[in-house]
């Protein structure tokens, strides 16, 4: 899967200085400390392995394999990377221990960097419609709350559509996010037709000249054929009002998910065509390594990462930080 160490690869060490923390962050000491702590632990271990030796040994390769596997990158990819690494070492492409980590980092970076594509709200579309999809409990509604605040702060007018008509109190949850951000929420009763709610909302957003409409949907497992059909219907009805809508179809993925996330991305993409991904819950110890597989197979842009439950805990995806969290160099 990975094409490690091709001739014209990035220079080793190039990603080294990419920071985990985007420049805009401040006043998030605790979270930063936690993120930093987990990163450090691994960094220390790898660093210790590197510091007192110049020769490359099995222990180092094993640590790298462990770091990759436990990041959920997938065992085949991890084996391929370490296999290629071994080949590069025996071919004398890599001769020193200190070259090893940067080389793997560079490879990972190269794989995921093309997916680092910021979500631009195209003003040609008014409203710019974002449809949020994903499995149960991934963080769709919370991410909507975060996005609402973000766009509001950017001076855009925002409206939310309570398309999750299934889960108990899902509408209330979204309304509460709407209230906090002082953003209108279009909703019908629980049990209503999701497509109808979204249709209403789009109509209303057009009438009120809203800039951004974000539509929530009920969580659904990608194996549930009838629910995937329902999603297609939501997509279809929007088209009746605006042939270009939705302008962003965003899959929300829980960073703690293992290889199943690949199935999720594949199936949701097949059903409605994804244009973006947000990875949530990266504030824990889960690394979200499965995104490499998704990037490799589907190449869907990764828009944001969620690093907490508050409205402010959303950041643009940064490939360098992401890689550095998996294989830190201290």
């Amino acid at each position: 899967m990975l094409r490690i160490f091709r001739k014209n690869k990035k220079k080793p060490g190039e990603v080294q200085d990419v920071q985990l923390r985007p420049a805009e962050q401040s006043g998030q000491d605790l979270l930063e400390k936690r993120l930093e702590d987990t990163r450090r632990q691994l960094g220390k271990r790898l660093g210790a392995l590197l510091s007192n030796r110049s020769a490359i040994d099995d222990e180092l390769l094993e640590e790298i394999e462990t770091a990759l596997i436990t990041s959920d990158i997938g065992v085949q990819a991890a084996l391929e990377i370490t296999g290629n690494l071994q080949a590069a070492i025996s071919n004398k492409v890599i001769t020193q221990a200190k070259q090893v980590l940067p080389a793997v980092q560079a490879e990972l970076y190269e794989l995921i960097e093309p997916c680092e594509q910021f979500l631009h709200i195209d003003e040609a579309h008014r409203p710019f419609v974002i449809l949020m999809v994903g499995v149960n409990g991934a963080g769709k509604t919370t991410t909507i709350g975060k996005l609402a605040q973000r766009y509001k702060e950017e001076g855009l007018s925002v409206m939310l559509a309570a398309g999750d008509t299934f889960r108990a109190a899902a509408v209330e949850q979204l309304k509460s996010w709407g209230d906090r951000n002082d953003v209108p929420v279009i909703a019908q009763g629980s049990g209503a037709d999701s497509a109808a709610v979204v249709f209403d909302a789009l109509q209303s957003a057009k009438a009120r000249k809203i800039d951004v409409l974000i539509a929530d949907t009920a969580g659904r497992l990608h194996t549930q054929a009838n629910l995937m059909e329902e999603l297609k219907k939501v997509h279809r009805v929007m088209g009746k009002l605006d042939a270009t809508a939705p302008h962003e179809i965003m899959l929300v993925v829980d960073a703690g998910t293992g290889q199943n996330a690949l199935n999720q991305a594949r199936e949701f993409n097949k059903a409605i065509g994804l244009t973006g991904i947000t990875v949530t819950k990266l504030d824990g110890t889960a690394k979200g390594g499965v995104l490499f597989g998704i990037a490799h197979e589907l190449g869907i842009p990764i828009r944001f990462i969620g690093v907490g439950e508050a409205a402010k805990d959303l950041r643009p995806f940064d490939a360098g930080s992401f890689v550095n969290a998996i294989l830190p160099i201290d």
């Binding site: 936690r34 702590d37 987990t38 462990t66 596997i69 436990t70 990041s71 959920d72 997938g74 065992v75 085949q76 084996l79 499995v135 149960n136 409990g137 991934a138 963080g139 709350g145 299934f166 889960r167 108990a168 109190a169 899902a170 209330e172 949850q173 309304k175 509460s176 996010w177 629980s190 969580g219 497992l221 990608h222 194996t223 549930q224 054929a225 009838n226 629910l227 829980d254 960073a255 703690g256 998910t257 293992g258 290889q259 199943n260 996330a261 199935n263 819950k281 504030d283 824990g284 110890t285 889960a286 690394k287 499965v290 439950e309």
Partner: protein
Amino acid sequence: MFENLTERLSRTVQQLRGKGRLTEDGVRDTLREIRIALLEADVALPVVQSFIQGVREKALGQEFLKSLTPGQAMVKLVHDELVQIMGVQNEALDLRAQAPVPILLAGLQGSGKTTTTAKLARLLIEQEKKRVMVVSCDVYRPAAIEQLKTLADQVGAIFQPSTAGQKPADIAKNALRAARQQMCDVLLVDTAGRLHVDEEMMAEIRQIHAVISPHETLFVVDAMTGQDAANTAAAFNQALDLTGIVLTKTDGDARGGAALSVRQITGKPVKFLGSGEKTDALQPFHPERVASRILGMGDVLSLVEEVHRKVDQKKAEKLVRKMRRGSGFDLDDFRSQMEQMQNMGGLGGLMDKLPGMSNLPDNVKAQVENHQTRQMIAIINSMTPQERRFPDVIRGSRKKRIARGSGTQIQAVNRLLKQHGQMQKMMKKMGKGGMARMMKKMGKLQGQLPPGGFPGGGAGGKMPF
């Protein structure tokens, strides 16, 4: 859920078939394959490592294995090791304590705690005839308390109100008092999701734990969880001294390695599986079935059988009998069932209401109504009686013949076999006569049903096990 792992392990083991003795090299290669299979199923790395270690030691150590062919020996080893990790029997909720028995639910964000609280309440109310109170200590997530209230009303549990302004430990303490006053048998305490690295939140739940001294502390974990299951399970177990695990969202296609990880790392039993969003989608977990499932139903199990027969005649016979019972639902039965359902016409929504049926995979449900049904019947018609009775014999060339005979594609044949497999599993769960009873009930309902729906309420939705 465990299909992928199953396939992989069977393939590995099949490669060993017919080879000579177990050599050290052979063992190493096989173990490498098994390691990959387990990792692909999202079993956590440390758990995989200790698993492999355990098998390796035994594979190289045991005398009697030399007399068997390597495949069989290895399967038995892996099987035994899986059983050893997963445990043997279902462990039920322990309610033997003074009422109200407090039960605490804990876990990461979005794992399914609130839904599981409602499911457990329903189970205890309907099956154990308990008086159940539920309370939410989630003062963080918007509308979390409202969510539990809605669900409590649906399942008929007593809802103890709480507000976002309160301290979670106070909520729990008050609820315990209220449960006592209202003569409840069980108090289910739902909590906010939290990350194990969040020290304050972990301190908070330890405090809740201290205040109510729960008789059961259940860790609710998403079946789709990857490697991180190891970290979180260890941390929650350390903080709270868990008594059991609930694995949720098993209705998808997750490979379910988290079950193995969490069980091994905490040493605590998986007590329930969540298999859907509705409040009746909760099953007691039967570990021995999972060990078999992980190893595969067909070939691999029969290999195990052979080993057992050689090693222990009596045991093997028992196993065979057990399996015969399980696979009693053959393709002939499948066909007549489809024909019956076809005769009844559009059943879609109705099926959900029937006992047990809500747990059928959606694609199985869908096929009942689907035009595919006719095609499926045609496929079965193209099979020999022997193939219908023993679908396991249907391999490459037979599949081709059947596809040609029924004017379909091999994929359609595969799909049918898979669905039959799922049905068969379902049948097993429902026990003997369950299907017949259900069909009868369906027939009756058909006559009574007003157009436009099924009157709510009465559907028990209980699984007969």
